[in-house]
C-alpha cells in the first residue's frame, strides 16, 4: 500500500472527484448520442418492428429498404419521388452560394480592414446590424423585387438571396482575420508597387487559405441547413433538402412510415455531419471565430 517513505512519483489515485467527472461526461455523451443512435436504428427497422414500441432496441435484421425509399420513393403529399431531388437542389443552391459569398466576403474583409476607404465603418456597421435583424422584415419586399427581375423561384434567385444574407457573417470573419494581419505587409507590397487587387490575389488570399476553408465550411453547413429562405425563394422545382424533408415527414397522407422518415432525416443531415466529422478542428475554429464577434 502507501509507501511510508514518499519517494518517486506520487501514486495515481482514483478520487471521488474524478469518478464524478467521468460519470458526468459519460451521461452527457449518452444524452447527445442517443438521438443519433435512435435515428439510425429506426431507419434500419421494418414498420412492424417499429410498432413494437422498442425505440432503443437494435433492429432484428438490417433492412436498408427504408433508405432506398427515402432516397427515391418517399412521398411529399401525393408526389412520391424521394428526397433525391432535394439533395441535388441543395447542391445546386449551396455550392455557388458558398463560393460567391466567401469570395465577396473575403474582398470585403480585406478592403474594410486594410484599406478602409471612406464610409468603411458605416458599411461595416450596417452589415452587422443587417446580420442581426430577423429575415421576416426583408421577406415580402425581397419576394416582390426578385419577381420584378425574374429571379423569384429560381436557383440564381435563391443563390443571390443566400449571398446577400451571408455577407454579414463572412465579412465579419474575414475582417477579423485581416485585421490581425500586420498592416506593414500591405505597406511593403505597396512599396513593391502592388495595388489593391494584386495585393489581394497574390499576397492576402494565399495567406488566408485556412480562413477560406473554415468560412467555406461554416457557410456550407449554414446554407445547406437553411429552411426559411429555401422555402420562400427557391420555388417548387428547386426546394432544398431541408424543405423536402419537412414535407415528407409532416405532410404525409395515410400511415406515417417512421423508418423512411428517419432515413430521410439522416440523409439530410449527412452532408453537414460529414463535413463536421471529417474537418474536426477546422469546423470548431470556424464557429468559435464566428461566435466571438464584438
Amino acid at each position: 500500500m502507501a509507501s511510508p517513505h514518499p519517494n518517486g512519483p506520487r501514486p495515481a489515485r482514483l478520487t471521488a472527484g474524478s469518478i464524478g467527472l467521468y460519470a458526468f461526461l459519460v451521461v452527457a455523451a449518452l444524452f447527445f448520442l442517443l438521438p443519433l443512435y435512435t435515428m439510425v436504428v429506426t431507419s434500419l427497422k421494418t414498420m412492424d418492428e417499429i410498432r413494437l414500441g422498442q425505440i432503443f432496441a437494435l433492429p432484428a435484421t438490417l433492412d436498408f429498404s427504408a433508405w432506398a425509399t427515402a432516397w427515391s420513393g418517399a412521398c411529399m403529399g401525393t408526389v412520391c419521388v424521394g428526397i433525391r431531388a432535394g439533395f441535388w437542389n441543395s447542391v445546386a443552391i449551396t455550392v455557388p452560394s458558398v463560393a460567391l459569398s466567401v469570395f465577396i466576403g473575403a474582398i470585403n474583409g480585406y478592403a474594410l480592414s486594410l484599406w478602409r476607404p471612406r464610409g468603411s465603418s458605416l458599411l461595416f456597421g450596417l452589415l452587422m446590424a443587417g446580420g442581426l435583424i430577423p429575415y421576416q422584415i426583408f421577406l415580402y419586399p425581397m419576394v416582390r423585387a426578385m419577381a420584378n427581375i425574374n429571379l423569384y423561384n429560381s436557383v440564381p434567385g435563391i443563390v443571390l438571396v443566400h449571398v446577400i444574407f451571408g455577407l454579414p457573417l463572412v465579412t465579419l470573419l474575414f475582417r477579423n482575420y485581416f485585421v490581425s494581419v500586420p498592416e506593414e505587409l500591405c505597406k511593403a507590397a505597396r512599396v513593391d508597387g502592388a495595388g489593391f487587387w494584386r495585393i489581394f490575389f497574390e499576397i492576402m488570399l494565399p495567406m488566408a487559405v485556412p480562413m477560406v476553408v473554415v468560412v467555406s465550411m461554416l457557410q456550407f453547413t449554414g446554407i445547406w441547413n437553411d429552411f426559411l429562405l429555401g422555402l420562400v425563394f427557391a420555388g417548387r422545382d428547386n426546394l432544398p433538402m431541408t424543405v423536402q424533408l419537412n414535407n415528407i415527414v409532416n405532410t404525409t397522407m395515410g400511415e406515417r412510415t417512421y423508418n423512411v422518415n428517419m432515413a430521410a432525416t439522416i440523409l439530410t443531415a449527412l452532408v453537414p455531419l460529414a463535413i463536421y466529422f471529417l474537418s474536426g478542428r477546422w469546423f470548431v475554429r470556424g464557429i468559435a471565430a464566428g461566435a466571438v464577434k464584438g
Binding site: 465577396i104 421576416q136 469546423f283
Partner: protein, 295 residues
C-alpha cells in the same frame, strides 16, 4: 486627382456590391416592410394608411400574444440551459480528461445539423406511441409519462430540450476556448493558495469568461427571436397554439393567410425586440472599450 482618392478607388469599387446589399436590400426592404405595416394591405400591398391599426390588431390577437409568451419562455430556458450545460461541459473537458477530443466531437455534432433535422429527431424520440414513453412502459413502468410533444402544457419544454441538445455544444466550444486562453499561472497561484477546483471555476474562471459567455448568450438570443424551423418541424405550433412563435406567426400571415399588414407589423415588432435585446449589450461593450478617464 488627389493621390489618396485614386488609391482608394479600387477599394471603394470593390465594396460597391456590398453597399448595394446594405442600402437597397437591408435598409430598403426594411423601410418598405415597415411602411406596409401602417397600411391595410392583405394579399397585395395597399397604400391606404391606417396608422397603428395593424399593431392594435396584432396585440389583440390571442395567437400573437401566445407566440410572444411562448418565445419568452422558450428563450429564457433555452439560453440559460445552453449556457449552463455548455459551461459545465467545458469545465469538465478542461480537467485534462482522457478522450477529450472524442467527447468534444460528441457534444458539438448536433450543432452541425439543421433545426429541421433536430426537430424531427426529437419529434420521433418523444413520440408517445412508439418513442421513449412506449419503451419505458414496456419495461414494466406502465404509468410512465413522457408525452411532451403532444401535451399542451409541456410542448414548449420539448422545444427547449431539443434546442439545448443542439446548442449546448456551441457554448462549450466558446467557453473551452476562453478557459484555454486564461493564464496557466493563475491556476498555479490558486493551487498554492489551496483553493478547491470548483471554487476556482466559479470565482476565478467564470468571471473571466463573462464577455465570451455574454457573446454566446447574445448569439443564442438572436437565434431565439428567429426561431422558426425547429417549431415547424417538431410541432408546427401545436398542440393548439402552445408552441406558436412570432416568426412563425409572421410567416403564416405573410404567405398562408395573406395578411401583409399584420405580418409586417409583427416583423417590425420583432426588429424592435432585437434592438431592445442588443442595445444594452452593445452599450456595455461600448462602455467597456472606452479609454479610461474619458468619462
Amino acid at each position: 486627382m488627389h493621390p489618396k482618392r485614386k488609391r482608394n478607388l479600387a477599394a471603394t469599387v470593390a465594396l460597391l456590391p456590398t453597399w448595394f446589399a446594405a442600402i437597397v436590400v437591408y435598409i430598403g426592404t426594411m423601410v418598405w416592410s415597415i411602411r406596409l405595416s401602417f397600411t391595410d394591405s392583405t394579399l397585395f400591398p395597399s397604400s391606404n394608411y391606417v396608422g397603428f391599426a395593424q399593431y392594435a390588431k396584432l396585440f389583440s390577437s390571442s395567437k400573437w400574444i401566445a407566440s410572444l409568451q411562448n418565445v419568452l419562455v422558450f428563450g429564457v430556458l433555452y439560453v440559460a440551459g445552453c449556457l449552463a450545460l455548455g459551461f459545465l461541459l467545458a469545465a469538465a473537458l478542461d480537467r485534462k480528461v482522457r478522450f477529450e477530443s472524442a467527447f468534444r466531437t460528441i457534444f458539438l455534432y448536433p450543432y452541425a445539423m439543421s433545426f429541421v433535422v433536430t426537430g424531427l429527431i426529437w419529434q420521433w424520440m418523444l413520440n408517445p406511441t412508439f418513442g421513449i414513453q412506449a419503451s419505458i412502459r414496456s419495461l414494466g413502468w406502465e404509468s410512465f409519462v413522457f408525452d411532451w410533444v403532444v401535451n399542451r402544457d409541456m410542448a414548449i419544454y420539448a422545444l427547449v430540450l431539443a434546442g439545448v441538445w443542439q446548442g449546448a455544444g456551441l457554448v462549450m466550444v466558446i467557453a473551452l476556448a476562453g478557459m484555454r486562453g486564461i493564464e496557466g499561472e493563475q491556476w498555479k497561484a490558486a493551487q498554492i493558495d489551496g483553493i478547491p477546483v470548483w471554487r476556482i471555476y466559479v470565482s476565478i474562471i467564470l468571471p473571466q469568461l463573462g464577455p465570451a459567455l455574454a457573446a454566446a448568450g447574445m448569439l443564442l438570443a438572436m437565434g431565439v427571436i428567429k426561431t422558426y424551423d425547429i417549431v415547424v418541424a417538431m410541432t408546427n405550433g401545436g398542440p393548439g397554439s402552445s408552441t406558436e412563435v412570432p416568426a412563425k406567426f409572421i410567416m403564416d400571415n405573410l404567405f398562408g393567410r395573406q395578411n401583409l399588414g399584420l405580418a409586417t407589423a409583427g416583423a417590425t415588432v420583432l426588429v424592435l425586440g432585437v434592438i431592445a435585446a442588443v442595445a444594452p449589450f452593445r452599450y456595455a461593450m461600448h462602455m467597456r472599450n472606452r479609454p479610461r478617464g474619458a468619462a
